[in-house]
Amino acid sequence: MTTDLLQQAAASNQWAAIFPELSLGCLALLLLGLEMVLPKDNQRQIPLVALVGQAGILVGLLINFYTATLDTETFNSLLRHTHQGQVMRVFFLVASLLVTMLGMISLPKQKVPRVEFYHIVLVISAAMMLLAQSNHFVMLFVALETVTVGFYILVSYFRTSPFSLEAGLKYLVMGALSSGLLLFGIALLYGVAGNPALPGHTAEPMGFSGLHSFLATGANAHHFLAASGVLLVLAGIAFKIGAFPFQIWIPDVYQGAPTPVTAFLAVGSKAAGFAVLFNLLQVFSPCSWLLVPVITVMAAATILFGNFAALTQHNVKRLLGLSGVSHAGFLLLGVVASVTVPMAVGAVHFYLFAYLLASFAVFGVMAHVAGANDADQELDHYAGLAKTNPFLAAVLVIGLGSLAGIPPLAGFMGKLFIFVAAFKAGHYGLLGVAIVGVVVSIYYYFGWIKAAFFETPTASGDECQASRPQISVGLVARVVLTLLAMATVVLGFYQGPLGVWVALR
């Protein structure tokens, strides 16, 4: 390699373009440093440092939203900065802020080290932000594995609880399996796109643009190895978003994981999967003869499985996990529609934001109601919540109503946008399945609301209540939960700026 080439490569390393990720990494290291130097009494301030630091980075990101590097490729085409990528960056930062907040509620109930939790959350968020902007399979793989390995640790974070460890092991086996599938898919695509015997072969078979131009040439999209590679990569991503038939790990892992981590998995990890899916769908667009039918079937099965399996659940974390599976199905519906109708991309992003607000409202309530055993959160524990704590009950109703898609909440508008996009794209059968799914989902969401409002604690419930300390809601948590609930209501009536902002391409 000549010096010219090296200089060229170095010139494309625009460090300013990944400033938010770099500052998140530095903040994560700062937390560990603070833990070493601060005296024991002051260490409970460290989560606040994380909170303030992330808020600062979020403000910085919003101010510099339209940077000079928008719509360019940096780091020798490893990264590509797009408007959608910027939107997802904001999404992941908001999610990690809220996870930090949930951690401040949940962690003090356990005897575990605190600071490492926030550290890993920050590292995962930075990796997810890079993942959403990756433009090269090496970048994609490394960022995805940083997220996944971080989640292995977070899921088994309550290491004194056998439930948390068991969930961690199950997530580890399933996550590593999906990484293996993804990796083998990448290997096949790399091999076939660089094959000198094929027309349109490329010198950059790992880069997204090179691969796209290869697939678009001649009959390459129908090549057996290329099609298998595309399917294997899709399978690897489907594991992350919890789409049928790769959703088996969800109920167990969601139940065993600490509540803030469950929220992070449900919102952050799923959104990261969809961000990657959108990027890859553009790369694989010549293969849409194969992808559209596969994702259509996957979406229908995901919606049906998620909703019907959630009907019989009594543990609220499993219930939210399976309802999250059905939400992934609705989002997949938007993904299928986005192949022909460009507005579907904006619809999916709006849905993700509505899902984020509603999910964190519900998980915030769960983190307060949960007792010392984090895996044991039954519907019965919510009996009489409206009497003992009307504030939490009100937030719960708004969150669950939005998840169920009750007008006029944000979740309803999210579903409406996606359904309109699917209608425009002509996926009528899938739309019918989705509407059945929505109707079924109302049943189990309302079962939960019924428990909180109309049931009085039973005899066994009384014992549980007696063993539980009085729920007290701190000031920060109260403000954040109120904001989440208000945003959910306001976005239902008025989508204006957010709707326009996420739909810009």
């Binding site: 090496v138 793989f141 490394v142 390995v149 640790i153 056998p162 460890l165 086996v173 293996g180 078979p205």
Partner: protein, 102 residues
């Protein structure tokens, strides 16, 4: 110099991958499952190196280093979880790890 065709390498890679995949599905001991997962990664590595050699691009060879690093990180975290779980439950057989249920 013995010449081995690309297809031979690919066949080996696919066989190893299939063995690993089936192993994850049917084996009951967590450590063995873990070995099968590593086998899948190694299968992908063989495919990368073979393709890299026959296509004349270096990307595949470089990717192998990333795979090795990631696999090492995965093993470090995974074995830690298995050890912690064994201390709690005195077992690592997957059919006995069924405390998470509805």
């Amino acid at each position: 110099m013995i010449s081995v065709s690309l297809n031979a390498y690919l066949a080996l890679s696919v066989i190893l991958f299939a063995l690993g995949f089936l192993g994850v599905l049917v084996r009951r001991n967590t450590i063995v499952i873990f070995m099968c997962l590593e086998l899948m990664l190694v299968a992908a590595t063989i495919a990368f190196v073979a393709f890299s050699c026959y296509n004349g691009t270096m990307d595949g060879n470089v990717f192998v280093f990333f795979i090795l690093t990631v696999a090492a990180a995965e093993v470090a975290v995974g074995l830690a979880i298995i050890v912690a779980l064994f201390r709690r439950r005195q077992t690592i057989q997957v059919d006995q790890l069924d405390s998470l249920k509805n």
